[in-house]
């Protein structure tokens, strides 16, 4: 067994980020419950945050951290509004299944 690398390469973080992002995307497509789909979006945002922080480490600045910070704020705002929308949709259509909410087509 080769000796463990002395430290973790940055690439590993990025690959984790990519995997999480892709899983989020898969989840968004295969799940039918709008709340779960919404959570998948959060997952994708988190994956991107990881990339930001990783790159920030590489450059030795806080810019990436601040982007992450702003993404968090936006995500919070988005969650508040998005969940409110979901509530309204549920009140009107009495379903949470994305396949049943198809009034985008006339």
């Amino acid at each position: 067994m080769p000796p463990a690398p002395p430290a973790v390469p940055l690439t590993a973080y990025l690959i984790v980020s990519a995997i999480l992002f892709s899983l989020g995307a898969i989840g968004f497509v295969i799940r039918k419950n709008v709340i779960t789909m919404f959570m998948c979006i959060e997952l994708m945002l988190n994956a991107i945050n990881l990339s930001f922080v990783a790159f920030s480490y590489k450059h030795g600045t806080v810019d990436g951290h601040l982007f992450t910070f702003f993404v968090m704020v936006v995500a919070a705002a988005e969650a508040a509004v998005g969940l409110a929308i979901i509530l309204t949709v549920y009140k009107n259509r009495n379903t949470l299944m994305a396949d049943d909410i198809d009034s985008l087509k006339l």
């Binding site: 995307a25 497509v29 198809d102 087509k105």
Partner: protein
């Protein structure tokens, strides 16, 4: 700076006020605004001119760069030289008088505010035309007055003949404007500028062209433009029809100012014209033919306004004749004196028509001298002026023109003298028919009494009457039937301007205008005055009056006998040489037929509709497939986004788009 821009601004303000709020304003306010702004403009002209007066060189005011494209730099620029000064005084002065007159003439009409809004707009454009210091700005005014002319000819827009006449004027003018535009393009190519002073300075360096060259082409195209606006043969057909408009319009636009724009433009371009003798000859010939044809037609017409319309065409022909033989000064002189007496003739005719309850046919008049003495007195001044009775204004300018023509070509001179006699004859004829003899209004002859005579006057009315409220003649007929038709004198606001114009018509010639204009025009060769020329010219005018007196007062049965004897020739002249019919046959009918069968049925219905419908059905076909993508299901969309993302990344990864 003398704030030249204020001159056209006043009427524009009047137009805006009357045009935007006129519907709500009382008539007195409308009159005040309309007349006030024009008078303000006139006063500002006086003030400006007194400030800059000797005016040996042009006074130029540049306001902004208008068009800057490549080597062409066209500034927004007003200029006054002596030529412009004369035009300014005529336009604003006579314009003011006619505005005052119109408040009386139009008092009973619907659309009072509309009329004055248009009239003020016309003043604005006319002043822009004469003030503009380059061809393009002149062209703006040129088109603007054309627009106002169209609007005012079609003022009684419910009357079919009026709107048709408006269209005709507009369309015929397009032919001339086309020529003018081409001329401007050539001037830009040749001189790289459109500013008058620069063009003239360069043109003065060009050698005289004895064969057809650039200068000749430019001048011929300018002639086409001038012929359209100033109603010269063969584009004269619109002006007689333009008499459908209210009479003040005929006086202001179609006699005194707008139609002289062509002469003004020719005189402006005098330097270029002098380099192109062939074009000069063309101008002279066109002018002469116009003068002769229009004068002969004028002898035969019965509608008093039509007579004066042909008279205007004929006089404009005189001006072109003068310009064509190089006598630009006398041409402008005639513009001014003609503006006096022809505006007076039209306004007087308007007063007559007013007093006759909108009757225009001279056969129904007669003996009016007793009923409307003031109108008669003022009209008589115009009569002797246009007939060329010595020492009236018309005599001076006409003798100046005839003298110059004689030195150019004696044949032209004799034709012009003959035309002068005919002119005196037809004006006298209309005066005798209107004011002398017995009043014939009570015994109104039924329409068609004179055989073919009425088709032009009344032909249009047959299909128009029923729906029209504005129709003058319907009104008049109703009046005549209702009560006795005693003519009555016009109010003061109408005869006041008449009196001023009458005074100008008599004494207006004592001011030696050609001498005054010398700094503004290229130097002309001075010709020795020959006394016998003046005697012949004066004699011709007086002879015309005498013949008319014999035929229409002394022996009233003579004209009918003569008409019968001349037969075909008379009828040809009466029908205005059938120019309109010729146009119908050669241009209008083929155009309509071609439009109908080829453009409409073939191109529009076949090709264009086919293309449009084809586009529609193609879109429907594509949409039929595309709608399968558009499921309305959010997750499907998500999947498509994912497909797109994978595709883009795959392209970047494989294609090496990322470093």
């Amino acid at each position: 700076m003398q704030q030249l821009w204020l001159i056209p601004l006043f009427p524009l303000i009047g137009f805006l006020i009357n045009g935007l709020f006129g519907r709500k304003l009382p008539k007195s306010a409308i009159s005040l605004v309309a007349v006030g702004t024009v008078v303000a403009s006139f006063l500002w002209v006086l003030k400006t001119l007194s400030a800059i007066m000797p005016l040996e060189t042009p006074h130029i005011e540049t306001y902004a760069t208008w068009i800057q494209s490549g080597f062409v730099n066209i500034p927004f620029e007003f200029a006054v030289d002596r030529l412009t000064a004369v035009m300014l005084l005529v336009v604003t002065g006579i314009g003011s008088l006619i505005h005052v007159y119109a408040t009386g003439y139009m008092a009973e009409e619907d659309g009072y505010y509309r009329f004055f809004a248009y009239l003020n707009l016309f003043m604005f454009f006319m002043l822009t035309l004469v003030l503009g210091n380059n061809y393009l700005l002149l062209f703006v005014g040129w088109e603007g007055v054309g627009l106002c002319s169209y609007l005012l000819i079609g003022f009684y827009y419910l009357k079919n003949s009026a709107s048709t006449a408006g269209n005709k004027a507009f369309i015929v003018n397009r032919v001339g404007d086309f020529g003018f535009s081409l001329a401007m393009f050539l001037i830009v190519i040749q001189f790289k500028t459109l500013t008058f002073q620069d063009v003239m300075k360069q043109a003065a360096q060009v050698p005289v062209e004895h064969a057809v060259g650039m200068m000749t082409v430019i001048c011929l195209l300018l002639l086409v433009g001038a012929a359209g606006k100033s109603a010269q043969v063969p584009l004269h057909v619109w002006l007689p029809d333009a008499m459908e408009g209210p009479t003040p319009v005929s006086a202001l636009i179609h006699a005194a100012t707008m139609v002289t724009a062509g002469v003004y433009m020719t005189c402006r371009s005098a330097t270029i014209f002098l380099k192109a003798p062939i074009a000069m000859e063309a101008v002279a010939i066109v002018g002469l033919i116009t003068a002769v044809l229009a004068a002969t037609i004028g002898m035969t017409q019965w509608d008093i306004k039509k007579v004066f319309a042909y008279s205007t065409i004929s006089q404009l022909g005189y001006m072109f004749l003068a310009a064509g033989v190089g006598a630009f000064g006398p041409a402008m002189w005639h513009v001014v004196t003609h503006a006096f007496f022809k505006a007076l003739l039209f306004l007087g005719a308007g007063a007559v028509i007013y007093s006759m309850h909108h009757e225009q046919d001279m056969r129904h008049m007669g003996g009016l001298r007793k009923y409307i003495p003031i109108t008669f007195g003022t009209l008589a001044c115009a009569w002797i002026a246009i007939a060329g009775v010595p020492l009236t204004s018309g005599w001076f300018s006409k003798e100046a023109i005839l003298g110059a023509v004689y030195h150019h070509s004696p044949i032209m001179y004799w034709i012009a003298v003959l035309t002068a006699m005919v002119t005196a004859f037809y004006v006298s004829r209309s005066m005798f028919l209107t004011f002398f003899g017995e009043f014939r209004g009570a015994a109104v002859p039924a329409a068609g009494h004179h055989g073919h005579g009425d088709e032009d006057d009344h032909g249009h009315d047959d299909h128009g009457h029923a729906v029209e409220k504005h129709d003058d003649r319907a009104h008049a007929v109703a009046h005549n039937a209702a009560h006795d038709t005693e003519p009555h004198e016009a109010p003061f606001v109408m005869w006041g301007p008449l009196a001023v114009l009458a005074a100008l018509s008599i004494v207006g010639g004592f001011f030696d205008l050609p001498h005054f204009l010398e700094p503004a025009l290229p130097p002309a060769e001075h010709v020795a005055h020959e006394a016998w020329l003046e005697i012949v010219g004066s004699a011709a005018g007086i002879l015309g009056i005498v013949i008319a007196h014999i035929m229409y007062v002394a022996k009233p049965e003579m004209p009918d006998a003569l008409t019968a004897k001349l037969g075909g020739l008379y009828r040809l002249v009466y029908d205005k040489y059938r120019v309109d019919e010729a146009y119908d046959l050669t241009i209008v009918d083929p155009l309509i037929g071609g439009s109908r069968s080829f453009l409409w049925k073939g191109l529009d219905a076949g090709l264009i509709d086919g293309m449009v419908n084809g586009a529609g059905s193609t879109a429907r076909l594509v949409g039929g497939f595309a709608r399968w993508i558009q499921t309305g299901n959010m997750r499907t969309y998500g999947a498509w986004v994912l497909v797109g993302a994978v595709a883009v990344l795959a392209y970047l990864g494989i294609g090496g788009g990322v470093r």
